[in-house]
């Protein structure tokens, strides 16, 4: 089976105080193989980010299935136990945004190494890999042991991407990671994504400027705001 197979995935929000349901997307079906890169396209408000969040289970899908071929067995992301999703997030599924959540007194290096440690790696080794990652994203070495709470926006983004892309994952969900990056960082990101793709990592991404990653795209899921003609376009 493919790495991910979504069938009739639907998301509606029920807002209690409005006594209203808001439809985000409905009956979406698509599949994704290892090493494939799928762009999620569509106008603002068409539910692109919501789709990623449903797969990561930050949002609860209203109906449908999303079968994920995990190393531990096939599991439906839409209905799996919370602890199973938490396990997949530590080991197999990553979510990449443009925002870093720095914590006081945690150095850039530690912040980047943490996902590896959470996956079971020893600190020493994790820190070594974190150094390489920060180096490849071009963060000045003088800042590695400093606290990102005080960093500039651009420096924080380098730490953020290093952290989000350091651990081995089977599936990466990319929520506009290139937005507001400078040219050099965007370039490092493109390199890292091609490297991951070549290693067989599957990716689903929302990009404001898809031309940044045009050469990586294998196919596209187009969401339409009207929701009447949600379709899957493969090329």
């Amino acid at each position: 089976m493919p790495l991910l197979e979504a069938t009739l995935l639907t998301k509606r929000f029920y807002i209690d105080h409005l006594q209203r349901e808001i439809e985000v997307f409905s009956n979406l079906s698509f599949s994704l193989e290892s090493g494939q890169f799928v762009l999620v396209g569509g106008a603002n408000g068409a539910g692109k980010s919501s789709l990623l969040r449903c797969l990561y289970r930050t949002y609860v899908p209203t109906s449908g299935r999303a079968l994920f071929n995990s190393a531990l067995g096939v599991i439906d992301l839409a209905n799996a136990a919370d602890v199973d999703i938490a396990l997949l997030r530590r080991q197999e599924m990553g979510f990449v945004t443009q925002f870093l959540r720095p914590r006081p007194r945690v150095s850039a290096l530690e912040l980047v190494a943490e996902p590896l440690v959470d996956g079971g790696m020893a600190w020493e080794q994790a820190l070594e890999q974190a150094r390489q990652m920060l180096y490849s994203f071009g963060l000045k070495e003088a800042l590695w042991s400093a606290y990102p709470t005080t960093f500039s926006g651009g420096e924080q983004q380098k730490v953020n991407l290093s952290r989000a892309l350091i651990a081995p994952r089977r599936l990466l969900l990319l929520d506009e990671p290139t937005a507001s990056l400078d040219a050099a960082t965007r370039n490092s990101l493109q390199n890292r994504l091609s490297e991951l793709k070549a290693q067989g990592v599957a990716m689903i991404g929302v990009f404001h400027h898809p031309e940044d990653i045009q050469h990586l795209i294998d196919s596209e899921i187009r969401l339409t705001a009207s929701q009447e003609e949600v379709g899957y376009v493969a090329d």
């Binding site: 929000f13 029920y14 807002i15 209690d16 105080h17 006594q19 969040r53 289970r57 930050t58 949002y59 609860v60 209203t62 995990s70 531990l72 067995g73 599991i75 439906d76 209905n79 799996a80 136990a81 919370d82 602890v83 199973d84 999703i85 938490a86 396990l87 997949l88 914590r103 006081p104 007194r105 945690v106 943490e114 440690v117 959470d118």
Partner: protein
Amino acid sequence: MLDTSSRPLSPRFEPPQLVTSPPIVRAIGLHKRYGRVQAVADVDVEAYPGEVLGIVGESGSGKSSVLRLLNLEEQADSGTYLLNTPVLEGQDLFALDRFRRREVQIMNIGVVYQNPHLGLRMRFTSSGNIAERLLLTGERTFATLREAARESLSISEFPLNRMDDPPRVLSGGMQQRVQLAKALALRPVLLLLDEPTTGLDVSVQALVLDTLKRLQRERHMTIILVSHDLGVIRTLADRVMVMRHGRVVEQGLTDQILEDPQDAYTQQLVHAKL
């Protein structure tokens, strides 16, 4: 009572398939009444090894009562409570006599209260507070006690040059670190935190949270954390249970509860606080 007919039911997910280890904490069907108040009604709590489970809810929702039951401070009116350790496996802790219960609590559960007066002797030295915990296990050698206290304070990031000061002369943040050191001294399998940073000023709160996060990562402790502060919950908890009127109204992954709450009350709670 909530009217459940007018809204979609909370999602029911499958039982765990990928996580094969059993929960380390398994408390089922907890009930507790104080006089006419049903403080806890039919609450199940399950926590897996190395997980941080948050319990949120407003004052009077029963969240601290649940914690007191889990700390074996009080007897439940009904329910069972299992801690899955080699020694205790299969044993309902509520069914133990009070001496054995006290022993199980000391050896397996650590607790940090919002109010340090509940957890510490304010006029003893800080190191003495921790040594006392070890005395309960039969340790009597002064050097060993002192070394253990030092180690425990050190991992809690307490400044060791103040280890012989009594908690009453320490700041609120420091007092919480002494409580934490005491809670961790016997390497409990379960750490219970009851509003551990409420009342501390924001910068101190961040530091204490950071210590907790570090310790959790390094020791893979199972933590159950009660807080009404969603920021604290977001920082520490992997999963969250939302309580109201003594019942669990919703539970889920922390980000899901905060970003896509399913229950009407949770929606209210989240939107009021963010």
